[in-house]
């Protein structure tokens, strides 16, 4: 009978037990998941069952991770995203969340640009950890993204983005996420991309601070290939700063927008 082991087709005998399959695939495996739930090793399998055989503490080969992430929920999606190259300008509250979401969904290459280093105040909303304080943000984020999915290709640019280096950094990206903090830098990036890279889709954000309702985080199509996520008004200021829930939500809306662009839904 045909079953699936770690999301790959596998020929099992009628009534074969989980333990028998485990011994053939990896005798050291100590976590057995049948059809999404932990199962006992003496359980008899049925045709079409999906069995995951996992050895705790061992990272499976990348092909196996790909198969296991992709097969269950959205077959074929990751293959479509593997060739995509997405730029992220700024990897703070928005950009670090965008990067993590796009890594998890299977975007092939991410280009990360940020001149800054991780400091304690960042930990309140950005995808960094206490043991990364002092690291370049791009390197710290690369470490985290690699843990989420070792197959993501990353290009790191720990430099300040200027009109002069935008082409060098983001050349070849079909989508660039504007995730800067300062209004002047947001304006600069978008202006240069609109002028010099009219084929690039820009996914920007504006008005993402505070604890205001997330219902205000709308998608505004400002230009032909220029989208802005946010309420457009809520500027980061004392006592209404950037907070993890709302800026994280905005980052994930940006990431979903990128996904839709890559899938040709927009």
């Amino acid at each position: 009978m045909k079953i699936y082991v770690n999301e790959r087709p596998f020929e099992a005998s009628e009534g074969e037990k989980i333990a028998s399959i485990r011994d053939k695939v990896n005798p050291r495996a100590d976590l057995l998941i049948l059809n999404g739930f932990p199962a006992a090793e003496d359980h008899k399998l049925s045709g079409g069952d999906r069995l995951s055989i996992i050895e705790r503490g061992v990272v499976p080969p990348i092909e196996e991770i790909e198969a296991m992430i992709g097969a269950r929920h959205t077959p074929g999606l990751r293959e479509r995203l593997r060739g995509a190259r997405v730029g992220i300008a700024g990897v703070g509250g928005l950009g670090s969340n965008v990067a993590l979401a796009l890594t998890r969904v299977g975007v092939g290459t991410l280009v990360l640009a940020d001149f800054d280093v991780v400091e304690p105040s960042n930990l309140g909303r950005q995808q960094f950890f206490t043991d990364q304080i002092g690291m370049e943000k791009t390197s710290a984020l690369a470490e985290t993204l690699g843990r989420a999915h070792p197959g993501v290709a990353l290009e790191l640019h720990p430099v300040r983005v200027t009109p002069e280096n935008i082409d060098e950094i983001f050349g070849g990206c079909s989508v660039v996420v504007e995730a800067f903090d300062r209004a002047e830098e947001k304006t600069m990036l978008v202006e240069v991309l609109l002028k010099e890279h009219p084929d690039v889709t820009i996914v920007a954000a504006s008005g993402v601070a505070g604890s205001y309702s997330t219902e205000g985080l709308k998608i505004h199509r400002v230009g032909e290939r220029f989208y802005v996520v946010g309420d457009l008004e809520s500027e980061a200021r004392p006592f209404q700063g950037l907070m993890a829930p709302r800026v994280g939500a905005a980052g994930h809306i940006q990431a979903n927008l990128v996904l839709r662009v890559l899938l040709g839904e927009l």
């Binding site: 700024g90 300062r182 304006t187």
Partner: protein
């Protein structure tokens, strides 16, 4: 000639209808800068200018029927 206006966020109040939209009758060969000055848009605010959805700037000359969009990003990210 007529130009369509689409202002976002804090600039909406300077648009013809006060809500971000409206059509404006202007002289031929008016530039974006002429129109923004005419509508009393503060020049110091960093803003992204688009004409018919693609890149423009204060010096861009408009044509009849063009849509001028102006978007001022706010800090935070």
């Amino acid at each position: 000639m007529k130009v369509n206006i689409k202002f976002f966020a804090g600039l909406r109040k300077f648009s013809p209808d006060g809500e971000g939209y409206g059509a404006l009758s202007v002289e031929s060969d008016s530039t974006v800068g002429d129109i923004l000055d005419h509508l009393n848009v503060p020049p110091e605010k960093p803003s992204i200018i688009l004409i018919n959805g693609v890149h423009g700037n204060r010096q861009s000359v408009l044509k009849d029927g063009d849509t001028l969009s102006v978007f001022p990003p706010v800090a935070g990210g």
